[in-house]
Amino acid sequence: MNNNVELMLRVKEGDETAFRQIVETYRDSILGLCLRYLNNQEDAEEVAQDVFIRLYGAAASYEPRAKLSTYLYRIAVNLSLNRIRDRKWKRLVSWETHRKVEDKDPIIADIQKPDSLLEQKEQQMMVRKAIDSLPPNQRTAVILKRFQDLSYEEIAEVMDCSISAVESRLHRAKLNLRKKLKSFI
């Protein structure tokens, strides 16, 4: 029996150790996925917690149909998109200024000239904006492929579409990104 299936069946029985093992296994990839959508560590952690809380809640009715990772990614994508929608709505009704995007991200090299650091920051900001400006399906395909390194088949399972749809979405996404980021290429 697949290890994850076994773990989920144990979670269904109320085994907390099994649940913890699942969380520890998928924590980083789910956090990383949420961060790509939300660009904020705090929000990403909160949504990542929501993902595992959902998983725990669904354990009682768990049937080993889909792969556990597929299931988790699907929840993470949906919850992240919901959070983005909520943010936009709150901004609309409360005149909130744009939520501060994490700008305390670690810079890769310690020893760099200030100009290079600023340039790198600017590039990161432009890349974030470019990815955020993609239509949701294209953005999801890019995040799952480039940052989670899923295969086209796995992406198709998460997004509940065909492999050719994934191919098309990624192709258009890359063309869009190329257009938006041409000054950096």
């Binding site: 924590r27 990383g32 790509r36 990403a44 952690e45 809380i53 890349v127 480039r146 890359k174």
Partner: protein
Amino acid sequence: MNCRDVQRKLSPYLDGECETEQCTILETHLKGCKTCQKAMQTLTDTWELITILPGSKPAPYFYTRLKARMTSEEHKEKTTWVDRILIPTSAIAAIAIGILVGSIVGRNGEWQPDRPLVEDDIVDALYLDHFDDFPSASLGDALFTLAVQE
């Protein structure tokens, strides 16, 4: 394969998702086509560029915080029926009783505001058997006069 078809297949080719036969056709075309070579290079550079975004920070206490949140939410669910039903019901009952008591006291109370106070009312209220007037022009006399309306 023409350039348009090749460029549409560059993305899965670069992602390693092309079938062997298709890869061979693409590579043959790319060897002799500078336009498509340039398109592939640009696509590769774009794809590399977007990885400059930093990853998530380590979260060693993630599970601890998750558990704490799950426990707190479980606790909230258990007390919700108290907040939702018991407290509002008690508040409404208290208000209703207050209105009822107030209306009873208002109807049966001793002081009726449309009748001016008289000396006897005050004497009764103070449980005095009788009352000798204050000396004339004294403070007590002045206060008593003010309290009694003719």
